[in-house]
């Protein structure tokens, strides 16, 4: 990763923009004051402190940096090159709870800066494969790990050769055995326990899930399956996050009542399989209207940068713009436990984007991307290729 453009003034004042704080009304002609890596003040008519570096952003729009709550970024580079894909622990055992994506991250991958240039400042990178895939990690797009473990990833739904009922049975067995393991660790170590349904490392890794510290983030689409998981989560007393959730809108009230968040691809309106027969354009709007905590996601890797376009499409399909902005900032931050990110407010980490206009509009551009109080460089590998081939034949 190339070095950050350092702005060594301890205090920076971004002056004159329309600021969308992410959790409240927009402030016109406002000033954002950043000290070190944090925002210390946001308001109209604030005077920059003495010695502050003043950045004139009059006429621009400031939002929190965008956050995609479920990607493959950083732990894979080229899908077609197996050596670069580290999202799947592999192996015959479908339980891989101990596997952590954070251990496979490559913060120097050029894929990061390409997304950052479009205003994405943090992501969750999530594992796949098996029944319990492992632990998802959150990092910012300078490559800094924010939380090594934000969720336990699993999946539930139609498969080949086995019933989804069997999958739920296995999940239940593994969680039960993780409790047994915790209660009788000495017996386990002394080999005085029956054989448990997962390895020692996996049973250990599931303890934060049982304690409610780590949510089970389950990729699931069919409404009936989501209902089954709501019952399961209540029975097991674990926190649940719905990943994908194409048919979640059908059970929006139950999700809202249980305060279970949904991470949704807002443009996934196709009945891609029999778990997604009820896909529709306005699922995001329906979930938000019902009060379901919501994050919009690209579920991507190379084009996480589309996140703002996806948000724009959610608005087009009826999601109020403020809800859409929350669903790509504070919403995903909350799901990932990034409590000091996702808003432009005093005390928050200064992950900010200065846009040339409406952040969701295709004609707008992320002119400045700030992460933890520092402006990140605009350049990236695609930009370098563009420059190299600005004229043909190229200069080599």
């Amino acid at each position: 990763m190339s070095a950050l453009v350092t702005t060594f003034a301890a205090v920076v004042a971004l002056v004159g923009a329309t600021v969308h704080p992410g959790d409240g009304p927009a402030l016109e002609g406002a000033t954002v004051i950043v000290e070190g890596d944090r925002v210390t003040a946001v308001g109209v008519g604030l005077s920059p402190p003495a010695g502050a570096t003043v950045v004139d952003v009059k006429g621009k729009v400031i939002t929190p940096g965008l956050i995609d709550a479920w990607t493959g970024l950083g732990a894979a580079e080229v899908w077609g090159v197996a050596e670069t894909v580290d999202l799947d622990a592999g192996g015959a055992d479908p339980v891989r709870a101990a596997f952590r994506v954070v251990d496979a991250l490559n913060p120097r991958s050029p894929t990061l800066a390409i997304q950052r240039a479009h205003g994405v400042t943090a992501v969750v990178s999530a594992p796949g494969g098996g029944l319990i895939a492992g632990q998802a990690a959150a990092f910012d797009l300078t490559g800094r790990v924010l939380r090594p473990s934000v969720a336990m990833a699993a999946r539930f739904g139609g498969g080949e050769g086995t019933s989804r009922g069997e999958a739920l049975l296995r999940l239940r067995e593994v969680l039960d055995d993780a409790r047994t393991y915790a209660a009788k660790k000495r017996d386990f170590e002394g080999a005085r326990l029956r054989r448990l349904a997962a390895s020692r490392l996996d049973l250990e890794a599931l303890q934060p899930v049982l304690r409610g510290e780590l949510p089970l983030a389950i990729t699931v689409h069919r409404a009936a399956d989501i209902e089954a998981l709501l019952r399961f989560a209540a029975e097991q007393d674990v926190r649940l996050v719905i990943i994908g959730g194409t048919e979640a809108w059908l059970v929006a009230d139950a999700l809202a009542a249980a305060r279970v968040p949904v991470v949704l691809d807002p443009v996934a309106n196709l009945p891609g399989d029999f778990d997604r027969v009820h896909a529709r354009d306005d699922a995001a709007a329906k979930l938000a209207a019902a009060g379901v905590p919501l994050a919009l996601s690209t579920f991507g890797l190379h084009n996480v940068r589309k996140l703002r376009q996806w948000a724009g499409n959610a608005v087009r399909a009826g999601l109020p713009p403020a809800d859409a902005l929350r669903a790509v900032t504070a919403g995903p931050a909350a799901i990932a436990g990034l409590t000091d990110r996702g808003r432009v407010a005093p005390g928050q980490i200064a992950d900010l984007v200065v846009w040339s206009g409406d952040p969701f509009e295709l004609s707008s551009r992320a002119e400045q991307v700030w992460i933890a109080g520092e402006r990140t460089p605009d350049g990236h590998r695609q930009r370098a290729l563009f420059e190299r081939y600005r004229h043909v034949p190229p200069p080599y």
């Binding site: 580079e77 080229v78 899908w79 077609g80 090159v81 894929t111 443009v267 996934a268 309106n269 196709l270 009945p271 891609g272 399989d273 029999f274 997604r276 027969v277 009820h278 890797l301 190379h302 084009n303 940068r305 589309k306 376009q309 724009g312 499409n313 608005v315 087009r316 969701f360 509009e361 295709l362 004609s363 551009r365 695609q382 290729l385 563009f386 081939y389 043909v392 034949p393 190229p394």
Partner: protein, 470 residues
């Protein structure tokens, strides 16, 4: 227009499977003539109303008159009858009037690369009919004969303003088969959706896919790019000979024997070579899936060697590296706005690809290859446009609109029929609620051949039987 020698064959057969019997001699049985050629297709009769659209900004994609600020247009008998500026004329008897209320009108959008119908929704194995990956050359298979007209993706594409698509076989094979150009009317068969008079496409593929499917997957040729080129060259050699044999037979379908005209047995019909020979003759348009610049150059060399024309490269994420060559040859570049990186041959994709091709004077086409992307062709074109513009590439809004209208129409050989708002062209027209390059723009009305096929203000039951009663 037609496949000359096939027509000759059909005519020689007089619509039957036998030649005329000269002077009482025994007839020479011929194999059946091709009943599927575009010329044999009679479109389903439509009875479009006369439509007047007024108070719209017309983005015509016609270079002579790209933008009409306060315009109107009249659709009659499935064609654009009149275009005007200012106050619309009084509507005639029975004419349907649509007040655009300051919205925008564009031509119907055209996608050169779709797998709608051949990889339909739901994407289950039972429906996956787009790749005949049992041997690397299957030039004779036809996407038309895999197309499921009940694909729920079709109606959603129309809701995005798309009126015409080319459905292609997939890219698992070196020569995957024939693509078909369809108008997106709801119909019970692909045959009934055929774009009248449009030539078929020939889908070819270079690079990673064929060598993965065959070399890596089956341990057979092609294992490498050189194997791919070898096999392609073999096919073109055979196709040239095949075309020559038929041309000779056409010239001399009879011979003198004992002073009488005796029929000469025609060459054996070969469905693979027949399609390739048609491509050599320009009666089937060649579309090549190719990412890397050096591989596109190889294909252009092959085309020169055997005398066929590459109509469009598809995906072509490295087209910007050889845009001087592509522009000089007039080969269309069908590509995405920002896809990259999913495999090594896509690693060097950049957002300015389309804009650079256009700046160079080449033919840029925004294609989707995606049932999701086809619903947002306007947005994808906008992204590619702004990426170019913001990097200082010389590209105009009208040129960017051409990426989804006139240029794909050219790539499919239907530019004289559709792709722009001009008097006499097919009434394929989209009425947007705002500028189509806005992320918030919605296609309010979509007319295909003058028939209102999508009306955002009056939703209809799903076209697809699959979605009924779920």
């Amino acid at each position: 227009m037609r496949i000359a020698w096939l027509l000759a064959l059909a005519l020689a057969g007089c619509g039957s499977t036998q030649t005329q019997t000269p002077k009482g001699r025994t007839a020479v049985p011929l194999e059946p003539p091709v009943a599927l050629e575009p010329g044999a297709f009679v479109p389903t009769a439509l009875d479009p109303p006369t439509v007047l659209i007024k108070n719209a900004t017309l983005l015509t994609a016609d270079p002579a008159r790209p933008r009409v600020e306060r315009g109107w247009l009249r659709l009659r008998d499935g064609r654009i009858e009149a275009i005007g500026e200012g106050d619309a004329p009084a509507p005639g008897e029975g004419e349907q009037v649509f007040d655009a209320d300051g919205g925008f009108v564009t031509p119907g959008l055209i996608d050169t690369h779709s797998h709608l119908g051949v990889y339909p929704q739901p994407g289950v194995w039972a429906h996956a009919d787009g790749n005949e990956m049992t041997r690397p050359v299957t030039a004779g298979v036809r996407a038309e004969e895999a197309f499921w007209p009940q694909d729920p993706g079709i109606q959603r594409a129309v809701a995005g303003g798309v009126t015409t698509i080319q459905v292609l076989p997939g890219s698992g094979n070196l020569i995957g088969g024939r693509g078909v150009v369809l108008k997106l009317h709801p119909r019970r068969s692909a045959r009934a959706m055929r774009f009248p008079g449009a030539k078929d496409g020939l889908k070819m593929a270079c690079g990673e896919n064929p060598k993965r499917v065959y070399g890596k997957g089956k341990g057979q040729m092609p294992m490498s790019r050189m194997g791919s080129l070898f096999l392609m060259r073999e096919q073109w050699v055979a196709a040239r000979r095949y075309a020559r044999d038929w041309a000779e037979w056409e010239k001399n379908p009879t011979k003198k024997e004992d002073g009488e005209d005796v029929p000469v047995t025609p060459p054996k019909r070969d469905l693979t070579l027949e399609t390739l020979a048609a491509a050599l003759a320009g009666d089937v348009l060649v579309h090549i899936h190719c990412y890397r610049a050096d591989e596109m150059l190889l294909q252009l060399k092959l085309a020169e060697e055997f005398g066929f024309a590459v109509r469009s490269f598809h995906h072509a994420v490295e087209a910007y590296k050889i845009r001087d060559v592509l522009a000089a040859k007039g080969v269309a570049v069908s590509t995405w706005a920002d896809w990259w990186g999913f495999k090594v041959e896509a690693y060097d994709g950049i957002e300015q690809n389309l804009a650079l091709i256009t700046e160079q004077g080449g033919r840029g086409v925004l294609h989707t290859d995606s049932p999701e992307g086809i619903q947002r062709m306007n947005q994808e074109a906008a992204k590619a446009y702004y990426a170019g513009l913001q990097s200082g590439v010389k590209v105009t809004e009208a040129q960017a609109l051409a990426w989804i209208t006139t240029e794909p129409a050219w790539a499919l050989g239907i530019a004289d029929q559709t792709g722009s708002i001009e008097v006499g062209k097919m009434a394929d027209v989209v009425l947007w609620d705002r500028h189509p390059f806005s992320v918030y723009a919605t296609a309010r009305k979509v007319f295909i051949d003058g028939v209102l096929r999508h009306d955002a203000d009056a939703p209809v039951a799903p076209w697809s039987d699959f979605e009924v009663g779920q």
